[in-house]
């Protein structure tokens, strides 16, 4: 086996298993499938060509997500909407647990919501929140890894997550009420 194919083989072994994660995250950034595919393909091509600069056995997922994110910001976002600046302090939604603690304390209504509506609710979040919620709660990246990827302090990751999760819960709850999956709290 020559050097080239050995390198290609290690790329396939270490990078390709993260394709599902890259595609899901790309879809959240890009907003639709065709652009997500382009974004993932560009990311994989850059990663493949730069594979010699990746230190084998370190965190390939984080390395690939960094390329994906930079590619999106530098080459894709210009062609789409700029993120709306969010006044983080103004966003302090309530936890919805107290609205359902009597009617559905285990939150079973969540499992009735179809996957596409969950995605739609995630896509409805402001980008700053959507990004951390997807990386943390969907892809299970540790907070420290998200902080490094986004270049922000870990405390900022935590506060964005706190608000993003509550906004997402509220959107899902409102949908569940509309669909009759859960009864709204009766005002006394």
């Amino acid at each position: 086996m020559n050097g080239h194919s050995e390198s290609a083989a290690s790329f396939e072994a270490e990078a390709l298993p993260h394709l599902d994660t890259l595609y899901r995250v790309a879809l959240r950034y890009a907003g639709e499938h065709a652009r997500a595919e382009d974004l993932v393909q560009d990311t994989m091509l850059k990663a493949y060509r730069a594979w010699d600069t990746y230190r084998r056995g370190t965190n390939a997922r984080a390395w690939l997500l960094t390329i994906l994110r930079n590619t999106f910001i530098n080459e894709y976002r210009k062609r789409s909407r700029e993120p709306t600046p969010v006044d983080f302090d103004a966003v302090d939604p309530m936890a919805i647990y107290h609205a359902v603690e009597n009617s559905d304390p285990e939150g079973e209504f969540f499992s009735q919501i179809i996957d596409d509506r969950v995605w739609a609710a995630i896509d409805g979040l402001p980008e700053e929140f959507r990004e951390v919620v997807v990386l943390s709660d969907a892809e299970e990246l540790p907070y420290g890894e998200i902080a490094e990827l986004l270049g922000i302090p870990i405390g900022t990751v935590k506060s964005r997550l706190f608000r993003g999760r509550r906004l997402l819960q509220q959107a899902l709850y409102q949908h569940a009420v509309e669909m009759g999956y859960v009864r709204p709290r009766e005002e006394a």
């Binding site: 080239h4 390198s7 290609a8 790329f11 390709l16 394709l19 599902d20 890259l22 595609y23 899901r24 499938h33 595919e37 993932v40 393909q41 994989m44 091509l45 493949y48 060509r49 594979w51 010699d52 936890a95 647990y97 359902v100 603690e101 304390p105 285990e106 939150g107 079973e108 969540f110 499992s111 919501i113 996957d115 969950v118 995605w119 995630i122 997807v134 943390s136 709660d137 969907a138 892809e139 299970e140 540790p142 907070y143 935590k158 997550l161 706190f162 999760r165 997402l168 819960q169």
Partner: protein, 84 residues
Amino acid sequence: MSREMDCGQAVEMLHDFLRRELTPELAQQVKQHLEDCRPCLGHARFEESYLAMLEAKVKAAGCPDEVRSRILAVLRETTQDEGG
């Protein structure tokens, strides 16, 4: 600082607790609070099922097979280390 944690503090840290992102000392304080406070324990169970639901629904989708095939085909036509 007191080791007693009130409901507001505990609820604020529930997700970080469930994701095992608290320092051992804070995690212990949240754990203790949940053992002593039934309403907060109920809230914690609710948030736990929320996080499990979210992860399960999101992970149900991945890279579509035809996209995977197209990307693999492009990679196999590409030579590494050419930079362009």
